[in-house]
Chain length 204, copies 2
DNA sequence: AGGCTATGTCACCACTCGGTGATATACACC
DNA sequence: GGTGTATATCACCGAGTGGTGACATAGCCT
């Protein structure tokens, strides 16, 4: 016989409801009433356990992994490979991880529109990943290559966000595998060209 | 003595109020009541003149220029310049135009989150600009260069959106002129490297 | 002037929102 | 078994939302 009253369990139910709600309806629908409805729980429990909606978002940010498996993306980087290959890997792994996680996509989009405990925590989490990527590359942060990699990552993230609602940009539907492979090939070649051109003109 | 009752004038007031509201408060705040309040007009007039909120958005999309001066960005492109220079110009002009228009930024962001008459119309307007850019370059749409240009444009757009709420990515604050100049320099060089590498290995 | 219609004002509806107080009840402890 | 407390339920609040009907009046036409 399962216990009918288990605070830890209802906490979990609320957090799970929030996650489902964000993933399914998008961040515009989040609110105390909606979360309570989704979790099948009275909304007063949200206030009891989390204090407020902001507290719930904060707890969600702390207890859930917001950037799924992004933390171990960079674990098996081929550090002895040429620079352009490493950079390409970072870009592609980053975008693939985002592509797989509708929740992360929603959070990225949310972060673009407003500030709240969840989005700021999510932002810090992302930033940590980026810094880790930098450390892996062993490059100074203001390097031109870092900037280029960042811009390309941003571009792919943007394309992924556009693809969610089926409004691709310039017919680049990043959700289609063949399109994605094509884009990845192009990015690989441009990174190669960029690094080779740098070796060419700077020899200190 | 000015007329107190002028339907055309109040229509204008409503549209202007909507524009001010989006620009100042962001798209999350738009609604019949808010627009009426901002325009200093009874909300019933919105229904009278536009039928519904959707109708108002549609009218706004049709009667306002959503992508300010983007339509004449590509008028003075140096068509005889090298390809990488043209491509770079397109990327930079595109991003500069977005940077100057807070309204367009908000619409881009809105388009990432939901579909409505305004965002779809805005999307089509953007698309038209992109196609014009393609025509100017005289390149087939599925060309690798086009894809690269698109990804870079997306990247810059994303950086601009991130900069709005002061949460830059990788310390790249695109609103700061020196940062922007640096990014533009890098993009120029990478486009040059890319086009030169293409000439190198394809000689048909 | 008289009347008609377009224009504008006001009051109201049902609903949802975030938030709170009072109350019921399941469970643990004695 | 009795009691206390943590847990959950219910009813309610004020404010705001999208939307509508009833009414007032300015301005034009005859």
């Amino acid at each position: 016989m399962t216990k009918h009253r288990d605070s830890e369990k209802t906490r979990e139910k609320i957090l799970a409801g929030l996650e489902r709600l964000i993933t399914r309806e998008g961040f515009t629908g989040v609110g105390v009433n909606a979360v309570a409805r989704e979790a099948g729980v009275d909304k007063v429990l949200i206030y009891r356990y989390f204090g407020s909606m902001g507290g719930l978002l904060e707890a969600f940010a702390n207890e859930k992994k917001l950037c799924p498996r992004m933390e171990d993306i960079f674990d098996n980087l081929p550090v002895d490979a040429p620079h352009y290959e490493i950079a390409t890997r970072i870009i592609l792994d980053h975008s693939r991880a985002l592509l797989k996680s509708p929740l992360a996509q929603e959070l990225v989009c949310w972060k673009l529109t407003e500030q709240n405990p969840l989005t700021t925590a999510f932002g810090k989490s992302m930033e940590k990943n980026e810094m880790k990527a930098l450390a892996e590359m062993g490059i100074v942060p203001d390097d031109a290559a870092v900037t280029l990699v960042t811009v390309l990552i941003c571009g792919l993230q943007y394309l992924i966000l556009r693809g969610r609602n089926n409004n691709p940009m310039m017919n680049i539907d990043y959700s289609k595998p063949e399109t994605r492979e094509n884009v990845e090939r192009i990015i690989s070649s441009v990174m190669k060209a960029f690094f080779e051109s740098r070796e060419g003109d700077s020899e200190k």
